[in-house]
Amino acid sequence: MKILVVDDEKDVQVLFEQRFRKEIRNKEMEFAFAYSGEDALKYLNELHEAVLILSDINMPGMSGLELLRHIKEKHHQPPPVVMMITAYGDADNYNTAMKLGADDFLTKPLEFSLLKEKLKAIQ
């Protein structure tokens, strides 16, 4: 399963690669990373292959919610699963994300064991 992680914090890549090292080693999961909403869209337009997208909401430039809107409106059949992540776990963000078609909503700090279960359930 190919997962695209979108976050403006670059070290998120190293962290995911460590947290999911067993899954990556066993080829259960494959990760790609984008550091902005714009990068993520570019990646999706060129490769069309992410099954699941995990995106931070609060990013400079295109926000995670805008990215979500773009993905759900214009991309792929079947549309990829999109999970939104935010440090501000407020009702507004949650409602907007849900209205735009987010499949799940997670708050920072991420519980990796929980995330792992969710990802495995999707698999």
Binding site: L15, E66, D90, K108, P109, F112
Partner: protein, 341 residues
């Protein structure tokens, strides 16, 4: 006079006509003397009156001098009060901008802390796995894991320092300036405050979003500035810029993309820091007043009107630099800080 007239009467050499004429002259002279006596008397009186008046005037002047002295003392006291109030205002402006930042700072600290927690957990797991591999005798795998532990530890260290830096800059921001110029990486300073301002705005207004472009001149090196003061100026300019794009965004113009650009540039012995936004711009009428204390276009309670005036003082008086503004109403505003190296 009668004696003189009698004497003249006795002089036989004189004709009756001559005697009459002399008598006339003498009477004339007598009249003149009487008039002069009267005048003298009057002058004397005037002199006395004037003396009294002068005395009174001197007393009055003395009273006035005392009154002036008193009001001087009062004014001095008022001036001191005013100075104290001004210092308090500056401090509250600092605290107000810190308040705006609090949420941003919390967010900025949360991110590195998450990394510290995550990478320490990862390290723990890796050590267990490493021990496992060592027990199995897989030295090569164990070595690879040791490397990964090392990398995780480096990340912990990096993000710990990052959080440390954020706390320090927050403390510096709230502290009264110690007026010490220290070699500072202006690019790092600008970037730090750009992030803080961004998260501060996000925390206040969740719908807020703006593209942030940066263009830092890597050849600037360290410049000697009072970093928390210049940091405040940069923060103030960026916060204003965010405000301007937010206001313009409310107009729902087609294809409008709120954008803020922060750039630095070294030009010979000067360094420029530019903060540009494509927001509402400043009307010509307001432009003349932007650096005046208490001038604000924000609704009551939203701005102290001290931000730019304090910024202006910090740049010009505190650093001998320049703070310039260029704007076009409805299109853009660009503030430029010019500092000598």
């Amino acid at each position: 006079m009668q004696n003189i007239l009698n004497l003249v009467e006795q002089i036989e050499a004189l004709t009756a006509e001559q005697k009459k004429a002399i008598a006339e002259w003498i009477k004339e002279i007598d009249k003149k003397i009487t008039v002069t006596e009267f005048k003298l008397d009057r002058t004397e009186k005037v002199k006395r009156t004037t003396g009294i008046l002068l005395e009174e005037t001197i007393q009055e002047l003395e009273l006035k001098r005392k009154a002036v002295e008193d009001s001087n003392a009062t004014l001095q006291k008022l001036l001191e009060d005013l100075k104290a109030t001004q210092a308090q205002l500056i401090q509250s402006e600092k605290m107000a901008s810190l308040g705006e930042l609090t949420a941003g700072i919390a967010h900025e600290i949360q991110n590195p802390l998450n990394f510290v927690n995550n990478f320490s957990e990862v390290s723990n797991e890796l050590i267990d796995e490493m021990t496992e591999q060592l027990e199995k005798g897989n030295t090569e795998d164990a070595k690879a894991m040791a490397n990964e532990v090392k990398m995780s530890l480096e990340k912990i260290n990096f993000h710990g320092k990052r959080a440390d830096g954020i706390v320090k800059s927050m403390l510096q921001h709230s502290r009264s300036s110690n007026n010490k110029k220290e070699p500072t990486d202006i690019n790092a300073l600008a970037d730090e405050y750009l992030r803080l301002a961004y998260h501060g705005m996000r925390a206040k207004d969740k719908s807020f979003n703006s593209a942030m472009k940066t263009d830092y001149d890597e050849n600037i090196g360290l410049i000697k500035i009072i970093s928390q003061d210049i940091g405040r100026v940069i923060l103030n300019l960026i916060t204003n810029a965010f405000y301007a794009v937010t206001e313009k965004n409310k107009l729902m113009l087609d294809g409008y993309e709120p954008t803020i650009t922060v750039s630095t540039k070294r030009m010979n012995d000067k360094v420029e820091v530019r903060v540009k936004d494509n927001g509402t711009g400043i009307p010509q009428k307001a432009l003349e007043k932007v650096f005046q204390p208490f001038f604000t276009t924000k609704p009551t309670g939203q701005g102290t009107g001290l931000g730019l005036s304090l910024s202006y003082d910090i740049v010009t008086k505190g650093h001998g630099g320049e703070l310039k503004v260029e704007t076009k109403e409805g299109e853009y505003t660009e503030f430029t800080i010019i500092l000598s190296v």
